[in-house]
Symmetry: C2
DNA sequence: CTATTAAGTAATTAATTGCTTACTATAATA
DNA sequence: TATTATAGTAAGCAATTAATTACTTAATAG
C-alpha cells in the first residue's frame, strides 16, 4: 500500500484552492450543508488538513466573501468605466452583475445564507461592505446621469438605487427558484428597459 | 420530583402551535439551525413529542409553507379586491406584501432557505406554487390596467411582473441585511413611485 | 548533509443532530 | 366504570459535525 506522491503546496495556494472549491460546492448545494469534510474531498486533502490553512470554519467563509468583494466590485467598476454615457454605464453594471452571478452560481447562495444570520458576524459585515460600495457606484452614475441631462432631476435617487439592486436580486432569486430554467441575460435586458422608464421619469 | 399537570391537546392544535413556533423561531435565527429540540422547547414539549404530530422534520417545513401560501395569497387577493383602480390594486398588493413580511419576519428567511436547496423538494414546489399564483394575480391587474388605459399597451408585462416581485424581494433582502434598521413602509412607498414610472411608459 | 519548518495524515474527540422506542397518563367514549 | 386510542415522556441510538492530537514527510536554508 503506497500513497501516490502527495503534493505539498503552500498555504497561500491551498487557501485559493479552498476558496474556489467552496464556490463550486455552493453552486450545487446549500452552503449551510457544506462540511469541512466536503471541502477537503474537493481539494483532495484530509479533513484535518483544512485546519492547517484556516484557523476555523468561519475563517473560510470570510475569505470567500473577501474574494467575492474584490472580484465582483472590480468587474462592476470596469463595466461602468468602459461605458460611453452614465445610463449606458448603469446598463453595463446591471448586465455585469447578472453575468457575474451566472458565472459564479454559488455566490448568491452564499449571500443568502449569510443574510439569514441575525447577528452581525464578520461575514455579514463583509456583505455590508459590498453593498455599501455598490451603492456608492450607483449614486455616482445617477448623479452623472442627472448632470448630463439623461434623467429627471426630480427622481428619488436613493429609491433608484434600492430599485436597481432589488431588481438584480429579484432576478437572481427567481432564477434560483426556476432551477436555472430562466434565461437570465434576456430576462435582465427586458427588466432593465423598464428600469430605464422608471428613472427617466417625465423626460 | 413531579411533572406539573401536563396539558394534552389535540394533534390539530399542536400542529398549529408548532407552525406558529417555527415562524417565531425563524424570525430570530436561520431556519437551517432550528432543531426539533428548539421547536419542542418553544411549545413546552419534549423533543420526542413533536414526532407524535409530524412524521418527520420535513413535514413541519412543508406545513409552514402551506400556511404561508394560504395566508399570504389571501391577504394579497384582498388588497387587490378592495382597490378602486388596477394601478391602485398593484400598489395595495405591493404594500400588503411588505406588510406581511414585516408582520412575519420569519417568512422571508424560510423562503430564502428553501431557495438554496437545489433539488425539487416538496417544500420548494410549495414555494413555486406561491410564485405562480402571485404571477397570475399580477398579470390580471396589469391587463386590467391596460384595458382601462392606465398603462402603456407596449409595456412588456412579463418583465413588469418580474420587476414587481423582484422589487419586493430586493427590499426585503436589503431590510434583512440592515437588521431591521430600514423603515420598510416608507422605503416601499418610494420604490413603488418609481415602479409606476416604469410601467406607465410614455403615457 | 543536516536541522528546521511546515504541509499533510490518520485517528480520535466531544458535542449535536433527527429519530425511535418502551413506557406512562389522560381524555373520550362505550 | 372500564376500555381504548393516543398525547406525552424519557432514555438512548446511529450518524455526523468541527476541531485536536501525535505522528510523518517534504521542502529548504545553513
Amino acid at each position: 500500500m503506497q500513497q501516490q506522491t502527495r503534493v505539498r503546496l503552500s498555504t497561500e495556494t491551498r487557501q485559493a484552492e479552498i476558496i474556489a472549491a467552496v464556490l463550486k460546492l455552493a453552486a450545487e448545494r446549500s452552503p449551510a450543508q457544506i462540511t469541512t469534510g466536503d471541502i477537503a474531498r474537493a481539494v483532495s486533502l484530509t479533513q484535518g488538513a483544512i485546519f492547517r490553512h484556516f484557523p476555523n470554519k468561519d475563517a473560510i467563509w470570510l475569505a470567500v466573501i473577501v474574494w467575492v468583494e474584490s472580484n465582483l466590485l472590480d468587474s462592476l467598476e470596469a463595466a461602468a468605466q468602459n461605458a460611453a454615457t452614465p445610463l449606458a454605464g448603469l446598463q453595463a453594471v446591471f448586465m455585469a452583475h447578472i453575468g457575474f452571478v451566472t458565472q459564479h452560481p454559488g455566490v448568491p447562495r452564499l449571500i443568502f445564507n449569510e443574510l439569514q444570520q441575525p447577528d452581525d458576524s464578520s461575514v455579514k459585515v463583509g456583505v455590508w461592505r459590498i453593498l455599501e460600495a455598490y451603492r456608492q457606484l450607483l449614486t455616482r452614475l445617477l448623479n452623472d446621469a442627472e448632470a448630463t441631462g439623461q434623467i429627471d432631476p426630480e427622481i428619488d435617487k436613493g429609491a433608484a438605487g434600492m430599485l436597481f439592486i432589488g431588481s438584480v436580486q429579484g432576478l437572481v432569486m427567481q432564477s434560483m427558484l426556476a432551477n436555472g430554467a430562466l434565461n437570465m441575460k434576456t430576462a435582465a435586458e427586458r427588466v432593465f428597459v423598464l428600469y430605464l422608464n422608471a428613472i427617466r421619469g417625465t423626460r
